[in-house]
Amino acid sequence: MSAPAYQVVGTRPIRHDGADKVTGRALYGADLELAGLLHGFVLRCPHAHARLRRIDTSKAEAFPGVKAVVTAADFPPSGDRMVDLGEGETPLSYIRGNVLASGKALYCGHAVAAVAAVNVHVAEEAAGLIEVDYEVLPHVTTALDAMREDAPLVHEELRTKEFGAPGSRPSNVAEHFRHEMGEVERGFAEAEVIVEREFHTSTVHQGYIEPHNATALWNNDGRVLIWCSTQGSFVVRDTTACILDLPVSQVKVTPLEIGGGFGGKIPVYLEPVAALLSKKSGRPVKIVMSRKDVFEGTGPTPGSFIRVKIGARRDGTITAAEAYLAYEAGAYPGAMVASGAMTVFAAYHLPNVRIDGFDVCVNKPSTAAYRAPGATNAAFATESVMDELAENLNVDPLDFRLKNAAREGARRADGVKYRRIGCVEVIEAMKNSEHYRSALNGPHRGRGVAIGYWFNVGLASSCTISVNEDGTVNLVEGSTDIGGTRTSVAMQAAEVLGIAAEDVHPVVADTDSVGYTAVTGGSRVTFATGWAAYEAAQDVVRQMRERAARLWDVDPDAVEAVRGQYRAGSHRATFRALAAQLNRTGGPVVGRATVNPKGAGGSFSGVICDVEVDPETGKTTILRFTSIQDAGKAIHPAYVEGQMQGGSVQGIGWALNEEYYMTAEGTMANASFLDYRIPTCYDLPMIETIIVEVPNPGHPFGVRGVGEANIVPPPAALANAIYRAAGVRMRRLPMNPAAVMEAIWAAAK
């Protein structure tokens, strides 16, 4: 079957928000000004773990210019209960507790109180007058330490959910689960080569440029209006309503432009606090985090300890694989270990597998999603072991992967059976690339490869399209636009309507103005909201056919619509011509759709990278880097490439330098972009991209989400490259110059 020819899909129009972004006119949360606006400042706990014996806010309240002070005591008096905000059942006390600590502060940076004042300097100075009587408690900051019998308890009431059943002893392990398939012991007995290794990865932050911000107005009619930077306006609405004990209809969230999120702007931090301050002061309140607040007070992705064991026969067939994944949830349960377990061996067709996952609470910020959350940690382990196995078996690392690659029909240990996937095609594209076939010469240089997977999600999206008389349309959607999705969604509507992408005007609406739409996450927007746009456009086409039928006095079924050309018998009209006649044919046309698609298509990705390691300093220089990914169908290839490059760069930072550097006191020593080293453009070569297109049968255009899988292979690919350049296997992230140097020294001993 040859690929269908599209007119809009697959082209590279200029993004709809481009002019506003490049001229600086786009409105971000920090830009918002409202009449009577107050400025908030959040007081944060300076200790890793402390009981809050007493909080005295009287001096702050009396400080000139202060209009309100709040603590957890200002939450509604409702008691604890289990709530489900789309991530499974969670105690309300955990959700509230992370917004303002009550009883105990669980990490350095945990919000304890907040002040609203006439300006932020007054608010900050007044916050310094709040007297908190902290009883500093012993703390624990790594998964392995937290799993010890004698570890300090983050939550005294927490019991381990062991294979689904609650345990009886207090523990920091919120959950231990297992996926098992086949007979693992027999599989290893059949293996002729077995490699088993342990890996450590550091806590890393998404590092978006724009700090979290929120402005709230508790209006006199009882409605709470919120403007903020979020990946999910409905998540903010529902969470804020839940925390404040309000019906969801009493909260209206207007998402403003978002300067990056990568999963980190799904959780809610400031909105309920700003709302409480507004309620007390009677005025709108804006809170903007500092970079330090962002590092210490918002959710990074888990640090982890991982053990992976893989066995293979001499012919390169894998016979068994085993993984032990212990992820740091941070202060509240919910480390991304479930997805780590789903992805750890996702690229391979394995007969015998066992995967153990542990969700471990520690005294660090509550973790959040970060681009394929959990998968990068896991792939670092698996793909390093695969590299070592390939070396032991003396086969090309890509051939070894190809031999064992997952294909349609393969089942994963977590139960999922693959539909059409592009794992083989991605590996083949790597093998056939000019990069992989080129020679790499010179001392201290090496090439590494790795592959990765992210499953992507569907979830609900809504969309309406109204037709303008000039033949353009307005498209209203609810997915906040992090990566150019206004355009990728609009293009899918344009394709159906047979009009230009530029003739669709996409708007990301507030929660009063569009149907429920789930978060911008899980690489779902181009897939699911794109699908909603596709359906809404079909609805428009159906109505336009009726209009044409009315004009021509024919049966609507007799009207054909192909790429914006409407015809019946000898009658002909373009979409634009019909649009001009709307008033004469019955008034406005509005198409609408709401979808909850199940057919999300997972995306595989690969990396080939060449590095040079300075043997005297341990510093890694990336000479060449290629990202390969299955997009299903690249709606806007330039934005797919942008996602691949962005994910690659974040993966490189995670691999080489980024980490939460913890002091002995359990505080973060490097909570600034000076010492939390994300790569700059001087640290990177041009990231080359190869888009693979294996259409997703579960989407009208074959879309697979592309936002995430690209971050998964870089750390492993770099580790494998460093091994070939410097002769050392790095099994701990970050692989910064000092770590590589120390490994070189250790190897020389």
Binding site: E616, T617, R677, P679, T680, Y682, P737
Partner: protein, 288 residues
């Protein structure tokens, strides 16, 4: 950040008067250290004295006989854009261009870099290697001291209340001399030195006539390693002699372990950077 008053005196005398009258006053040059410190609460003040309008502090003059006079508030970009300076002190021009990016270089001064007294300040080891001196004005008059004696502890210098760094003076480069500052940073930009080495050498027919070596980020203050430079005097220019000097620099380093590097790694880097800086300085000296 708390409220503070602001003054912009037009003369050294006026600045000294203000500083002497307000013991908590802070001197402001480019502000690229000071403003960050005030905002983060690491420093507090009730008066900021902006010295950028004082003529002497903006002076940038090079004379082949007298050497370089560098006003304490001269921003980095003026240093590397000064043609005469670039020819006479290429290492200084290059080091000025290391600090921050273009925007920072529009404000940041070498005087501020020195007065901030950070052990990792990038210009200071080179100033020491170039035998620069500090010219200071205060209520008691003026004084001059070598740069290596200026910093006393992390964030602390020898200035007493009311005193102000007016300018730096660098002697004219000797014939057949060269200099270089090298730092190690994990990234390639926007980073604080894990370790740094500034060197200057003067050659004489394949031998070192003299050399000075100073280190960054491996002691509480920028560190002049006199014995490492002295060890080169009279020795032939060779991998061996430079390697031996590098080992002396390493032995003098007293680094700590922190988020920017372990003590062992930093000591190791001292040797690597010193040797590489010496090689570069020698190459430059051979061209002069």
């Amino acid at each position: 950040m708390k409220w503070f008053d602001y003054a912009a005196p037009r003369s050294v005398a006026e600045a000294v008067r203000l500083l002497a009258a307000h013991p908590a006053a802070r001197t402001l040059a480019g502000g690229t250290d000071l403003l960050v410190q005030l905002r983060s609460g690491r420093k507090e003040t009730d008066l900021v004295v902006d010295i950028k309008r004082i003529p002497e502090l903006n002076e940038l003059r090079y004379d082949p006989a007298a050497g370089l006079t560098l006003g304490a508030a001269v921003p980095c970009y003026r240093i590397y854009q000064h043609a005469g300076l670039r020819l006479a002190y290429p290492a200084l021009a290059e080091t000025a261009s290391l600090i921050g990016g273009t925007q920072i270089q529009g404000r940041a001064s070498v005087g501020g870099n020195l007065c901030n007294a950070s052990p990792s300040a990038d210009t200071v080891p080179l100033l020491i290697a170039l035998s620069a001196t500090c010219h200071i004005a205060g209520p008691q008059g003026t004084r001059a001291i070598p740069v290596e004696d200026f910093c006393v502890a992390p964030g602390r210098n020898i200035l007493t209340p009311g005193e102000l760094l007016v300018s730096l003076h660098v002697p004219p480069p000797a014939p057949h001399s060269g200099a270089r500052y090298l730092r190690f940073i994990p990234r390639n930009e926007m980073d604080i030195a894990v370790a740094g080495a500034g060197v200057s050498v003067t050659l004489d027919h394949g031998h070192f006539r003299s050399a000075r070596i100073a280190l960054a980020a491996v002691a509480p203050t920028p560190l002049l390693v006199r014995e490492a430079g002295d060890a080169l005097a009279g020795r032939p220019v060779s991998a061996e002699s430079m390697g031996a000097a590098a080992e002396l620099a390493k032995a003098a380093a007293r680094p700590i372990t922190d988020m920017r590097g372990t003590a062992e790694y930093r000591r190791h880097l001292c040797a690597v950077l010193t040797r590489r800086a010496l090689e570069a300085a020698v190459a430059q000296a051979k061209g002069n």
